[in-house]
């Protein structure tokens, strides 16, 4: 079979630099790898964009809203976060916790955040039966007066507004089912972005405008103009989108599991201190609080008084050991365990040193400094914090907001470009890249590509499933179409 060049250019032919061969010209018999690959990349970019576009658009809009939330919480919840008057000396932490427990006896203390500044309140985080799964009740205590200033339903460190937008971005408040939307978006975003990048470079190269990769053709009109904006803005945001896609996948339900397994097998996991005290043999030996969400075995369960014993000594030890605030204190959950104290400064320069303190003696029994983390574990933390707009503060938020705006415009222009290809003489849907792109490749190239895509599809299941479904539907259409054309020959005339 002779190889043919895809006659459909990415955009309208540039009159100044025609891309189609004049009539009668010989079609190259040995097309370059890119010429062979381009139709397939075009199909992946087109159908991937069409499929994932709505999900990406939702993720971009909800992500854009999320970028504004860090400034809202301190304003809306000022009463809870700040004290009215800074006193001479704070009350002992144990007394502050006791006040919080007295005000909210329904809760069980799971962590404590001492104030990071003199005018901040102490946050006592509780598990309570009437808060949703994965959420907590955080009680805010004035450290000087011991007055409880309020209680909020929080998600990790996030106060209600940020928690709401966080969940909106993650799952649209649709629970586990809703997570599929963001996973589908993240699974396809890198494919669509990389495909688009290759197509854009190829188009600029073909039209001899490689130096104008990031500059739209403002002098053009119609689809060419739309394409140039789609491509140049896409180029500007592509690196950020790849980062968001990868970090988004780490949180996802199915692909996240694959990434977690990969990190474990390559020892890229985030190191944590062991909470087991030396000489003790609790039932969950070796377990850290990271893993102890389900609580200890009933036989080893501690009463609240036992669990919170020695908190003042623990805090003093942590301060003396050089740990800086913001820090979080996690009480033991089983006999034979110590307190875990972790720095949690996520804004650059980050601090995440952690220690385990024996509440009886105040001795540090284990320590893991952020400096000793594997580079990949550090990178993972930093990229996640960048994704959340935390690492570089307001600059990070602005960059994320610009990325989201860029992504929104790229998606909308993608659909506009598709619409601009609609037939003008009769009704019908716009043209899509033609089938049979895989056959343009050499068999060995196609084989390698199929194996690679199958492997990626296995580890990124929503990508694999949606692509598989598309291939099946596409094959079915391919089977039906020739019959349709045979049965309606007059339509072609």
């Amino acid at each position: 079979m002779s190889q043919t060049v895809d006659p459909l250019p990415l955009g309208d032919p540039d009159p100044a630099t025609p891309t189609t061969q004049p009539t009668g010209a010989r079609i190259p018999t040995t097309p370059t790898t890119w010429v062979r690959l381009r139709p397939l990349v075009m199909r992946l970019h087109f159908y991937g964009g069409m499929l994932a576009g709505p999900f990406l658009l939702i993720a971009a809009v909800t992500g854009l809203l999320y970028t504004f939330t860090p400034q809202l919480d301190p304003i809306v919840f000022r009463d809870e976060l700040k004290v009215d008057q800074v006193g001479d000396a704070p009350l002992p932490m144990s007394e502050q916790i006791a006040r919080a427990m007295a005000a909210h006896p329904e809760g069980e203390v799971t962590s404590i955040r001492p104030p990071s500044a003199p005018d901040e309140t102490t946050q006592v985080v509780m598990a309570a039966p009437d808060v949703p799964t994965d959420y907590s009740r955080t009680v805010f205590v004035d450290p000087y007066k011991g007055e409880v200033r309020g209680a909020l339903t929080t998600y990790g460190q996030w106060l209600p507004i940020r928690a709401w937008f966080d969940e909106f971005h993650r799952n649209l408040h649709l629970g586990e089912f809703g997570r599929n939307y963001s996973e589908l978006a993240a699974s396809w975003m890198w494919v669509v972005a990389l495909g688009g990048l290759a197509l854009w470079i190829g188009y600029r190269s073909r039209t001899k405008k490689l130096r104008r990769l990031a500059v739209p053709d403002r002098e053009k009109s119609g689809r060419t103009r739309t394409l140039s904006w789609h491509g140049s803005v896409g180029l500007l945001v592509v690196a950020g989108l790849l980062g968001l896609s990868i970090t988004g996948l780490t949180w996802s339900r199915y692909a996240g599991e694959s990434i977690s397994d990969l990190r474990t097998s390559l020892s890229w996991t985030t190191p944590s201190v062991t909470t087991v005290l030396s000489g003790e043999t609790p039932s969950d030996t070796g377990a850290s609080h990271h893993d102890s969400g389900a609580g200890p075995a009933a036989t080893d369960a501690l009463t609240p008084e036992q669990a919170l014993r020695g908190v003042d000594r623990v805090l003093t030890t942590a301060d003396t050991a050089g740990l800086q605030r913001p820090m979080w204190l996690y009480p033991p959950t089983a006999a034979g365990e110590g307190w875990r104290v972790e720095e949690n400064k996520r804004r650059a320069p980050t601090r995440s040193d952690a220690i385990t303190v024996d509440p009886g003696s105040g001795q540090i029994t284990d320590r893991v400094d952020f400096a000793s983390w594997p580079l990949i574990a550090k990178m993972t933390n930093w990229t996640i914090d960048m994704h959340m707009g935390i690492l570089f503060g307001i600059v990070n938020q602005i960059v994320l907001a610009l990325l989201m705006v860029g992504l929104i415009t790229v998606i909308i222009r993608g659909y506009i470009m598709w619409w601009q290809r609609r037939p003008t003489r009769h009704r019908g849907l716009p043209r899509a890249p033609r089938r049979g792109a895989l056959s343009e490749l050499k068999p060995i190239e196609a084989l390698v590509l199929i194996v690679v895509i199958a492997a990626i599809g296995w580890y990124v299941p929503l990508f694999g499933l949606s692509l598989g479904a598309f291939v099946v539907i596409d094959a079915a259409v391919g089977l039906l179409r020739p019959r349709q054309s045979r049965s309606a020959p007059t339509q072609a005339a």
């Binding site: 079979m1 049979g436 068999p443 084989l447």
Partner: protein, 212 residues
Amino acid sequence: MITDLALRWLVTLLFAAAVAECGYSLTRHRHSARSVVGHLLHLIMSVAMIVMAWPFGMEVPNIPPMVFFVVAALWYLGVVVATRIGWRTPLLGLYHSAMMGAMAWMYAVMDGTLLPGTTPMMPMAMSDSDDMSTAGMDMSSSHDGHAMSSTGWVSVANTAIVIGFGVAALWWLYRYLVARQSDPGGRSLLRHAGTLCQAFMAAGMAIMFSVM
């Protein structure tokens, strides 16, 4: 049965495609008697693999299907020895014979009492233990109330089969791509679906043996 649900569905879909292709080919095309037998054997094999992947497959006795596939393997060998007419190469006939033989082998391994070196290992109630969960395939049998351990030479043989069918899957897929490209009228999916389904069956076999 395959304990990993995603893998179970993948294997099911691969062999279901093979069942569909064999059924389609048998009903829509005229075949020689030998070809009909070949298609039927592959169809039965695919159904057997689907059954084997699911929990209800554990209710199926091992010995009768094992004997059936031994006969099927011998039939292919006989065809290769008797005549090469209708076969592109004797190698192809040997491949099909090996595939049927692998089916018989799988039933023998699952039985746990037929092959030397395979030992009945644990009562069925323990089939959810860590040791079994790492395997991915629960081979505990309901008839004899035990699962078996595939250690030593059986594991080596299984690994060889996995590699063999993995390579075969790639080879069939390559053949399919070559056939589509070299056949000007071959863009129709059904025209080369048989080759594609051979790739599916080989991949399914590799997956099944890899989780044993």
